[in-house]
Symmetry: C5
Subunit: 322 residues, 5 copies
């Protein structure tokens, strides 16, 4: 589905045009066309391929979707694949945007997520001195927007982690729920990592010593994206490390709970076993057991039982077994 | 066993020829011969070595089989070894294809798997403008087919993993079966990894800055294979990581089951021990135990036993020990 | 908030000036202005951007704060972000200093920590022959000060670790407290690592073969910082490794405590079960049980119970179960 | 101990000579001397040093032995150290061969293993067209032989691993024996790895872009060795990984056995505790316990005990606790 | 503290001189001064700095001590920091030697360890043809001595490890002591690693393709040191790996001991519970219990108890629970 198709000249919006008029603007010097598509419309992509002379392998990737993030040069044009990640409750929804950028066109194909790039277009149009850099500035602006949207996602994952951390050292926590929460959190961090890491490599080629001619004037801008990606990557790694530590702490907590359960078991068993033994002794049928005939034999016996249990209870409490 | 031997000229099929006629076509400019073999036929390979002047070390590798995937240059020809992986129920069957490619010939030797390259040949013949690139395009098409066939295999391994994941958090799951399933899955992922990773390095040499003259026109095509291999590699790594997490979760679940078993043991033991103690007390033979002579002594005693157990049961339920 | 703004000429302090006079000194050859700010004052930063012609992306970073440590070239000026770490009881407080350095100016923006750079300025002013190197020497002095302040922080973390290590092999230690202490220590080491590692890479660019023109005369000084960072990094890694070992030792200790608890349980259960069995036997109602009618039957019976328990106790002690 | 000393000319054996005649052949163009020694004979090595003008540091290494595998250039000669590994029952015996190779000599010093290089010499002599490459071909043939002999060793270690794997999932396996077997297997894999990995690096220098002049004609042969070493390395790594998995599976099995033991304990304890409680109740001495006077009170009581136990047994069986 | 200060000319000792005469020799061509110091004498170091024109940053490092091993170029001189490690019972004592080497001087500053370099000086003086290489040969000789002294230290750590390994598979070993021993051993290996690894990098710069002019004639000698360091590093890594395996084996052993303890507990509990149940049954007060009145009722009952226990004992023995 075509969303918008606009021609820009020297950083200013010239006109919104139908897709069929692209060919008459695409060769005009100083002009570039910015086309935004939603969902993989195979026929439309085929039409764009002809209008902009896109490379068949890149178009094939965009038609199939579900690519790994990457940044490829085809002659003097660039093809970028980025994953877009949105929050969907506690879960993540993963979409994709494929960007074709040549000297006089930018084509973005978004799919799988709701939020589009209307705000990016508006900000670009409000800064004509930057948009005058041409189509490569739009490429920068789109990539920058996608990368900046990773931060609130990561922030929420960090909040989830912090919540689990709070629960984990509490004595009566539910280790089973913690394990599951940590497991799912780890998977989500991995999803984010898979969006960030392959991109890191691609963007480094746009900000290093030898960059494609097309983006040479914007090296510092792409270095800024690279820097954000590195920050994301470090934060993800750090969170994954913490998840691993928390998992192992949780495991230790299970082991310790078991240990404590066993101690309590021992303690209670002793509290019952001792009077049972005494009762057994005075249940014996020996002919001559003088205690049995004492006047207060029975209450004394009960008293001894209670006294022994009281003493044991005191000892167990002191040893923190109970 | 020779399957087919066909001569192509300018991307079009010229003739299907017997092996013995190869020498009369192999020197004709603009022509190349595409030979497909099945199973390592040592004599036939020897004949091919003479026809195409193959390097003895490469032929030796093809005769022995069970090589590591690799891509080697011998003068102006290439020798590629790829592992082919087929599903065999839940298990994997590993075969091999050795491809010799020179300026005017391509020779593929397949072994160990059932599915051949008939569809590759048909697609090539249906796109003469691409086949006109010559023998190196056939090399690309064969490698692309082998790599694309890894994806459904990996998809099935991911399905197996997902199924185990579903079982793992269920309270009464069978941890022993889970462990074995995870262990076997890990081995299968390793098998796939061993097919992918060594190839990654080899293919990167066909798509980087300095490629062999023979494939220079197809750099972007080989980069596409490289990209697929990287995607596979990332997916395999991600799955291995998940298998590791799942294994550790499973271990935690075992520890927790043990803990719960122990709590239940404690609870049931208490439910029996308390009335046993009471019974012991009233089994004592003291001369003067007034309760023994109460009219409703016995039913009261039984009632107290039941009441204590009822209370304990309620407490254990509340503490989730039962 | 502006702290100070001083002009230096040939290593000597010329004058303390208000911010508005900067423009009249910044173009004087042989002079440079050193401005120190506290907290991110957005308006003031904007003013500085105009005075020193700073790059907008760098200023944006300084205005937002919470950047990853880095060292970036913008034309012939440098932009450095460093994290400042202060002890706050056992915890760490993380601040930031952003340094802009051009041929004739240095601007530092500190935030989040209390201790400033007054001592750095004083030491610089007391060594005019070094300060004569110009603004890049101030950059060095500031970075050196920040890095040197990491050492006492790391020292305290090492002290905390040593204290935990001492507790860990003690038999009756509290494993739960140890785990939590190790977990928190690991997080603190990670915080420090995140300050050090990204900087390592940046500083290596100021001390390697190809350095920016501005710092070329001070290569050995920046190599010294690099060396300190490497030492810090190795110490941090080594401590993290020790924390991991200690955590695993602690886990083993929990398992062993459990084992010992179980042995004690077994032993005590046996000490009670044996006399209970004997009591049970002599509580049987067989018509003909001669022992019951022995004269000293009862005391003998009690004696046997005590003797058996004494023997068992001796055996358990010897086997270290009790 | 000198084994043999033979002069070759243009790939053909010229004469077997005593060590003292070496000097008269070593300068003849087109000739090379191949000397094989067994055990480190310090005096003989000293003599060889003079005859072939070997570098003192290399000779020192050969005299001391127990070197790390390596490949070093000394001027226009090469010095190679390889570890030879033989099976000694289930264990490994590690020996060493040091090879000095110059334009007109090859000297091999073997020690610590039984099997020599007689078969290598015979195969070389039977292929004079290859031996005509000169001393560097002998270097290749020796190295190839050593590396090829690693494969059967690795095969046996894989067999050992497979055997352990079969035992590990069996319910009543002996976990203690498995652990020890896995531990020893891991050590053996490490031994093999230490023979392979350092060599990998050295051989890569003989097969890469810039090789020593002496071996330039045999680059593809050394690449073949390199390929074998990589295959070995991958197989070793894969086996080590499997050993690690198997160890962790074994640990899980121990935990599960414990869990099952505990369940069985609980079940059996219940089977005894219930009738004990009933017996306790009817052992009470209440004056008025009507059941005691029922005609079939005793058999009914026994029957109830049996019935309860039967029911419990059925429940435990169903829950797989017994 | 100054130990010795000697002038050498063409590899031969010229004279032992006081520190104050250094300046008159240091400019004589073909001469070099070798100064040995013990402990960081700040004043003396300051004097040396003036005599040899040392770089202030290097002198500062030597004055502070506790540096990371490193090798730095300052103009045409070298500054090396090495850690010296001595055995102190089972423990390690870590010292440091700082070496300044310029074209006509070598200055070594040793601290923290007892053993000096007297033997190095003697061996150098006994090989004047090597010492004629000048001050850089002394640098080599000192570094070689330090590195060679690591081997006996590592050997002893390996002995300690072997001893622990022997204990670990013994059934009744003390797991607590093993854990502590492994923990301490790991720390010692780490200490050694920290001496070796940073040096590895430094020395590789003296033996690679592009070396400082000063050491160019001794490249193969420094490569020898590099080779030793690599061997040490591999041995350390291998030992650390074994320590990790042994730790995990030890943990498994603890789990298995626990399992066995529990089985024994079950078995003994059963041996007591069964006769207790029987005694309980015959302690019931049913009016009509015919067995009670059998003539041999009591001995038969005891016999049945003993027989059941005997049978159980036999079964438990067979199942290896006892």
């Amino acid at each position: 589905m075509l969303i918008r198709c606009v021609v820009y000249e020297n950083g200013k919006k010239l006109a919104e045009i139908p897709a069929s008029d692209i060919h008459s603007y695409v060769c005009r010097p100083g002009c570039f066309v910015w086309v935004a598509m939603f969902d993989r419309d195979i026929a439309l992509l085929e039409e764009m391929r002809e209008q902009f002379d896109l490379h068949p392998l890149a178009v094939e990737d965009a038609q199939q979707g579900h690519q790994r993030p990457k940044l490829e040069e085809y002659g003097n044009s660039l093809f970028a694949v980025l994953q877009m990640i949105e929050l969907d409750g506690a879960d993540l929804r993963v979409g994709e945007v494929d960007i074709f950028a040549g000297p006089n066109y930018v084509l973005s194909v978004r799919s799988g997520v709701e939020r589009g790039f209307r705000d990016v277009r508006e900000r670009c149009e409000s800064e004509p001195e930057l948009l005058a850099h041409g189509s490569c500035y739009v490429l920068y602006a789109l990539m920058d927007a996608v990368v900046d949207r990773y931060f609130p996602v990561l922030d929420q994952l960090e909040d989830q982690l912090e919540e689990i951390e709070k629960r984990i050292f509490v004595v009566d926590s539910e280790p089973r729920a913690n394990i599951q929460a940590l497991y799912e959190l780890k998977q989500r961090l991995m999803t984010l990592k898979h969006a960030v890491v392959p991109l890191l490599e691609g963007v480094s080629n746009l900000s290093g010593a030898r960059v494609p001619a097309m983006v040479s004037g914007l090296r510092e801008y792409f270095r800024d994206i690279y820097d954000h990606l590195q920050r994301l990557n470090q934060m993800i790694e750090s969170n994954r490390d913490t998840v691993a530590s928390a998992t192992s702490v949780n495991l230790s907590m299970i082991a310790m709970q078991e240990n404590e359960t066993m101690k309590r078991l021992t303690a209670y068993a002793a509290l019952v076993a001792i009077p049972t033994l005494i009762a057994g002794i005075y249940g014996m049928n020996f002919a001559d057991m003088p205690e049995l005939h004492w006047r207060y034999g029975y209450p004394i016996c009960l008293g001894v039982m209670a006294a022994l249990d009281g003493y044991l209870f005191y000892r167990f409490r002191k040893a923190k077994w109970l």
